[in-house]
Amino acid sequence: MTVLDHRHHTAVPGWLPGATAPRADPAPLLPDVSPVRVLGTPALEKHDPALLRELYRRLVVGRRYNQQATTLTKQGRLAVYPASTGQEACQVAAALALGEQDWLFPSYRDTLAVVSRGVDPLEALTLLRGNAHTGYDPRAARTAPLCTPLATQAPHAVGLAHAARLSGEPVVALAMLGDGGTSEGDFHEALNFAAVLQAPVVFLVQNNGYAISVPLTAQSAAPSLAHKAVGYGMPGRLVDGNDAPAVHSVLAEAVERARTGGGPTLVEALTYRIEAHTNADDATRYRTEGEVTAWREHDPILLMDRALRELGILDDALVQEAADEAEALAARMRAEFHADAELDPMALFAHVFAEPTPQLREQAAQLSAELAAEAEVQH
């Protein structure tokens, strides 16, 4: 008998066994007492060296991607970029924990996860560049559009996972969101639906300490964000978000659990946002440089580099290879963003409905006439 059963039996008069019995013993649902770590622990040796090297390579390339995108905002080539610098371990591990048939539901900060999943780096940036809302084909990439309204993609992930299960396909959905997003109603509704439906879905909360300016203490009074899982009836896991193999193994376990009918999991990854919220934000208003410096010591690439060298599976050749790949990607981004985006204003009317309404046809004709008149003036 669990603690909760016991309480019900004694303290609730008129309690009908069965009707209100807890569905699961809460004890196994409780999150890890301290964040799961792999780097610098004996557990590292149990990990596939090929996977570790792959994680390292992707971290390095991802860091460069973050840097180049941030530079592009300074040059006015990207409208805005919410960098995941410092959070790369969560991003690449998320992508690697999924199989090809699975779906990713990213937030606006998760471009790097999208890219790690195989989406073209430039197509992944159209939203932030400002030329199109979603540059990739979500169905082909099995990746939903980058989601800006907070936590609203979480119920979508639940619905997709539920539908996939109904059709008998072993598809898992992974929804990514930030610590602040866990306060939104949609997050709670998604968790509840997922648990009730036992949907094959995994929620990854990247707790990077802040929601724009608001620190976690002003966001939630819970012992951890992973604790939020328990009340809904799913396990909560807590992991060091800067430890790539740790994030990967916790996510892979959760994905496997979901795939084999075990239901949803909430994973909280503890990490830190090294850059400001976006290039438009002034982080000095709400945090100290000392705090940032301390987290730089816990950098995901640094941790990986140190541990893998110790284990003897990271050599200069791989370091060079990763660095070269990173530079090549950065060069490609620079080159392609240097040119102005080619835009077709008539595309505004292309996808409002399957069939444009008569009103939209009229408005399209109006714009077309305006563009023709403009072109004439320019000649």
């Binding site: 800006t148 306060s183 985006a341």
Partner: protein, 320 residues
């Protein structure tokens, strides 16, 4: 304008201890547009509260605060991020006075930066006024000048009814001298910003500067355009609008929100009903297209500009 809004909040909080500000990032950061800059420093975190990230929670909490006698001023970070709070706004804020036969009026001001033209990505540029204007029980106010930003926000906070206060974000950085002590026309009154005899451009918020520019450009065509700034969409100033339309005889309604089912449709209908015999031409609307707000690189094709306004004026058939 941002500075004027900040002063309005500060002065209201100094004068009335029941005025409380709450929202996302309104504390140390001063809001993403800095409208609440320095308020937590001056009044403490109880009076200017950084909330958890939950718009329905913010507005729902404000309802309870107002029930207990406070005057909450809520900040929604961007137009499209107010949508999670629409249930609270539509089902409770707008209806509480009515549901309680006047016993529980809700003096809440909901400030929402709205509209496009600042290069924002998806969900940061919606012109959402029609949702609010079509919800009975809400006042809907939208300043276009620095003086109005101050005066109308003070009046909104002082109002015993809920006010949706729409701040045109592309005008935040507009500058003008203003005297906080100078009298400002109250909520519910439109103001003629420019007199003219050929036609009147009826507009509000972000489109006011565009209309003034169009009126200037129209001189080259020999047209003398009046520009009427509505300032408040609910209550609607039928009196001023009709007086001006009747004297000029031709009217164009301009706003950046989509036209179909938009606020301009309501305005055109009212004007037609009341001024039919004084009109020399149908009331024409110039609005954004009926499309989801476009990506920033294409937004200038969507937003009504001077040329589109002048084309509409031309369609008013000048020969009587």
């Amino acid at each position: 304008m941002a500075q004027a809004l900040n002063s309005a909040l500060r002065d209201a909080m100094r004068e009335d201890p029941t005025v409380h500000v709450l929202g996302e990032d309104v504390g140390a950061l001063g809001g993403v547009f800095r409208i609440t800059d320095g308020l937590t420093a001056e009044f403490g975190p109880d009076r200017c509260l950084d909330t958890p990230l939950a718009e329905a929670g913010i507005l729902g909490t404000a309802i309870g605060m107002a029930m207990y006698g406070l005057r909450p001023v809520v900040e929604m970070q961007f137009d499209a991020f107010a949508y999670p709070a629409l249930e609270q706004l539509f089902s409770h804020v707008a209806k509480m006075r009515n549901r309680t036969a006047g016993k529980l009026p809700l003096p809440i001001t909901v400030r929402i930066p709205y509209g496009g033209g600042i290069g924002g990505v998806e969900h940061h540029s919606d012109a959402s006024e029609a949702y609010y204007t079509s919800t009975p029980g809400l006042h809907v106010v939208t300043p276009a000048t620095v003086a109005d930003a101050y005066g109308l926000l003070r009046a909104s906070i002082a109002s015993d009814d809920p006010v949706v206060f729409l701040e045109p974000k592309r005008l935040y950085w507009g500058k003008a001298e203003f005297d906080p002590a100078a009298p400002v026309e109250p909520i519910g009154r439109a103001v003629l910003r420019r007199t003219g005899t050929s036609a009147v451009l009826i507009t509000y918020g972000p489109s006011l500067p565009v209309c003034l520019e169009a009126a200037e450009a129209a001189k080259a065509e020999g047209w003398d355009l009046a520009v009427l700034d509505l300032r408040t969409l609910v209550p609607f100033d039928d009196e001023t609008v009709c007086r001006v339309v009747r004297s000029v005889g031709r009217a164009v309604v301009v706003h950046e929100a989509s036209g179909f089912g938009g606020t301009g449709a309501e305005i055109a209908a009212r004007v037609t009903e009341r001024c039919f015999h004084h009109l020399a031409a149908p009331v024409v609307r110039v609005t954004g297209f009926d499309i989801p707000y476009p990506p920033p690189m294409l937004e200038h094709h969507h937003l009504p500009g001077v040329d589109r306004i002048l084309d509409a004026v031309a369609r008013l058939q000048w020969e009587d």
